[in-house]
Amino acid sequence: MRAHLIRRVLQSGLVLLVVGFVAFSMFRFVGDPVDNMLGPERTQADIARLRTDLGLDRPIPVQYARYLAQAVQGNLGVSYRLGRPVADILAERAPATLELAAVSGLLALVGGVALGVLTAIRRGGIATGVLMTLSLVGVSLPTFLIGIGLIYVFAICLGWLPSFGRGDTVQIGGWTTGLLTASGRRALILPALTLGLYQMTLIMRLVRSQMLEVLSHDHIRFARARGLPEWRVLFRHALQNALVPVITVAGLQLGSIIAFAIVTETVFQWPGLGLMFINAIRFVDIPVMAAYLMLISAMFVAINLLVDLLYLFIDPRLRPAQQRSGG
């Protein structure tokens, strides 16, 4: 068991190294940072000198090795664009994205399960038809369009909610939160809705199909035959069984919510990691791009590792052979 654990962790580390290398080899297709770093009056000599200073004239494996050597010592470098330490920028931006992701995730889970159950038990109802059609729209509309549509309706036409930004924030230790101020909570609604809508419709459709399947099982029929109240049949016997795959999907989706917050953050000028990454790409800010990609891949690798280990824990059949030989 321990050997297997160590092997999985080592594999994850290897995946991270490979992702980093692929990212580094792609940076040169993004462009040349030197052109953004120097003003319009730069001479050819300035360009050549800065390229040498930044080490951009070295082969990519050398650049990557240098980056890793510094990153291991906890030095993520200085942003080419803002001239500030990348670690500081990440620490400032992460709370905004994590807060947005958490609220959208919660929204997606609660809304998705509730609507999924509703559409499963009211099969063929008008409300179900409308919801199922709307959910198709939610799955297929691009996020930026949903965001702009929400801004148009709720900010411009109705004037209820702000169109951009995070509102007022409160600093607690190293964490900034918008949840403690009225303007912060108001500012969170539209971005969270935009980011969570896709996941919500996904979960809703998943819950519905799982519920329909479980409801056709024998134990539900027997439960009903025993004369149990309908709510108890639905929520105690049916939903609990339907939720197992939903939890797995929702856990894996949390990673995507954080990673794909980029579009939502750009539309709403939400000051999180995604907006930071977009700015870094436009400027070819290599230290920031590298740190962001490593962070996101570390997160995905960690989530996957955790899920693998959980399966191992839950289902003994997946354990390696030597474990069984003792019993």
Binding site: D32, G39, E41, I47, R81, L82, A155, S163, V267
Partner: protein, 525 residues
């Protein structure tokens, strides 16, 4: 709410309510990149810096020079290679320190040091001396008649503040240095920094010790600056009243903003000309389908392309009227510009075809056009329009549009045959254009000239401009150089951009060619 409170406070204090004062919320596409006044030569960075710091002199709305920290300036009567600047007295920095000539000498030396992004504008300066507490002499390598025009974005810092905070040197980003001056500011300007969260929000408040109190309107008491990148969101924020003033109004939303009650558009011709460059110097082109010959080396082909472009159609269809077609790669306020040069070449496809035939390309040729898609107003659409227009004379253009971070290296490395470029002229003088776009490419000059054009006679004339003190002779030389540029059809000019600001109607602030709002002038009523 805040405004009514302020008004009530003003009434209680017995101030006449006819003069309004209040905060201003301002948004534009990009944030300032650093507060260090000499680290980045870039528009949004300078715009924020102009509220906090001041240069010796600034541009007025028509491009003329106006005193700021210098009250007057003139070449030294004894030596034409020396400029004498008399400085404003009684000025203090925002931390209370007094401003004098030592600060000017320190700041200009900092601005021309190796890592400063402003150093090329001071390339002709060989020495600086303080000849009194309020007088500075700038020594140049030979006489430099246009030096004052190069100082309008060179900000003055307090020497003691810089020394106390280890900010004597400009930040060395490639060495991983961080800098106090990049995140803190102490200028002589009308507004001082309250807080700054880069890419999120910057708050400024009026500097109570500002020397210009009583001279300028100063009705904007506080400034909250928020970058909003997405154009639709930026316009939405103006429409909902969440911001009072935006720069960079997208052309497709101009009518929407103008139609909204209580909002106004402020337009001005921008100091930026858009044009195509042609690689005429290479023996053969990479992207064309002609072997062994460079079709662009033939002036007749370049002329044919020039008159095949329909600039009015681009203005009407692509730019929705928001451009000024031109025949020269210089905006109108630049010294050396004439109405004659500016005349737009008439579109004449028949004559263009005849020119192509005479050059031996009656069947045309194929070529790739490199175009940015995130730098200028509707840049990619301009290129698309040009593709169709050039197809009429048989030139089959393959458009390759990409982000500026990938486009500009092609020009820097000279690996493009046909490209779109925009150019602003901060010095308001033709020499700046010649140095970067016309002079042969070498270590010092021609860094934006990817045409491969090299004319030693013309290079000598361009270099001589720097030290010609007789303004008439200098202007004559400029006119001569322009004649060659136009006769050779070195570039295909398209238009000058028009810039648009959107603002609440109560904000009195006119747009200027520099795209640089100076809020000390703004009124609120």
């Amino acid at each position: 709410m805040t405004r009514s409170l302020l008004l009530a406070a003003a009434l209680l204090a017995g101030v006449a309510p006819s003069v309004q004062a209040g905060p201003l919320r301002w948004a534009r596409a990009g944030d300032s990149l650093t507060l260090d006044p000499h680290a980045k030569n870039e528009g949004p960075t300078h715009t924020l810096a102009h509220q906090i710091y001041e240069p010796l002199l600034i541009r007025d709305a028509s491009g003329g020079l106006e005193p700021a920290l210098a009250t007057d300036w003139a070449p030294s009567p004894q030596d034409p290679g020396v400029w004498v600047f008399n400085l404003r007295q009684g000025v203090t920095f925002q931390d209370g320190a007094a401003f004098d000539s030592a600060d000017v000498v320190f700041s200009l030396n900092r601005a021309r040091s190796g890592r400063s992004d402003m150093k090329e504008l001071l390339a002709s300066v060989t020495g600086l001396r303080a000849t009194g507490p309020y007088q500075v002499e700038i020594v140049t390598e030979g006489p430099n008649p246009i030096l004052p025009g190069n100082l309008t974005n060179i900000f003055i810092m307090d020497e003691d503040w810089a020394r106390a905070n280890d900010a004597v040197e400009v930040q060395n980003i490639s060495a991983g240095e961080v800098s106090f001056a990049a995140t803190h500011a102490n200028g002589t300007g009308p507004y001082s920094l309250v807080s700054r969260d880069p890419d999120v929000k910057t708050v400024l408040t009026q500097n109570p010790g500002y020397w210009g109190r009583g001279t300028f309107a100063l009705q904007v008491t506080d400034i909250v600056f928020t970058p909003i990148q997405n154009p639709a969101t930026r316009v939405a924020a103006l429409l909902t009243g969440e911001v009072d003033f935006i720069q960079d109004v997208p052309v497709q939303d101009l009518n929407r903003v103008a139609a909204e009650p209580g909002l106004e558009l402020r337009s001005a011709p921008q100091n930026r000309v858009i044009f195509f460059g042609l690689n005429m110097g290479a023996p053969d082109l990479q992207s064309d389908d002609v072997e062994g010959v460079n079709p662009l080396a033939d002036a007749r082909v370049r002329q044919a392309m020039n008159i095949a472009l329909n600039r009015d159609a681009i203005r009407q269809v692509v730019m929705r009227g928001q451009s000024r077609p031109t025949g020269v790669i210089a905006p109108p306020f630049v010294n050396g510009w004439t109405a004659e040069l500016d005349r737009v070449p008439a579109t004449d496809v028949t004559r263009a075809k005849a020119l192509m035939a005479r050059a031996g390309f009656e069947d045309g040729f194929a070529i790739r056009l490199d175009c940015p898609n995130d730098r200028y107003v509707n840049d990619e659409a301009i290129c698309q329009a040009a593709v169709g227009m050039l197809a009429q004379i048989g030139i089959s253009v393959a458009l390759d549009a990409k982000p500026k971070a990938q486009h500009f290296p092609l020009i820097a490395n000279g690996t493009t045959d046909f490209y779109l470029l925009g150019w602003g002229v901060p010095t308001y003088d033709s020499e700046y254009i010649f140095n970067f776009l016309i002079h042969s490419r070498d270590d010092m000059r021609g860094s934006w000239n990817a045409t491969g054009y090299s004319n030693p006679d013309l290079d000598a004339k361009i270099e001589a401009l720097a030290s010609e003190t007789d303004m008439d002779a200098r202007n004559a030389a400029i006119a001569e150089i322009w004649q060659v540029v136009q006769a050779e059809t070195l570039y295909l000019p398209i238009h000058d951009q028009v810039l648009n600001w959107g603002a609440t109607a109560k904000l009195g602030l006119a747009a200027n060619p520099e795209d640089l709002p100076r809020f000390k002038y703004a009124t609120l009523n």
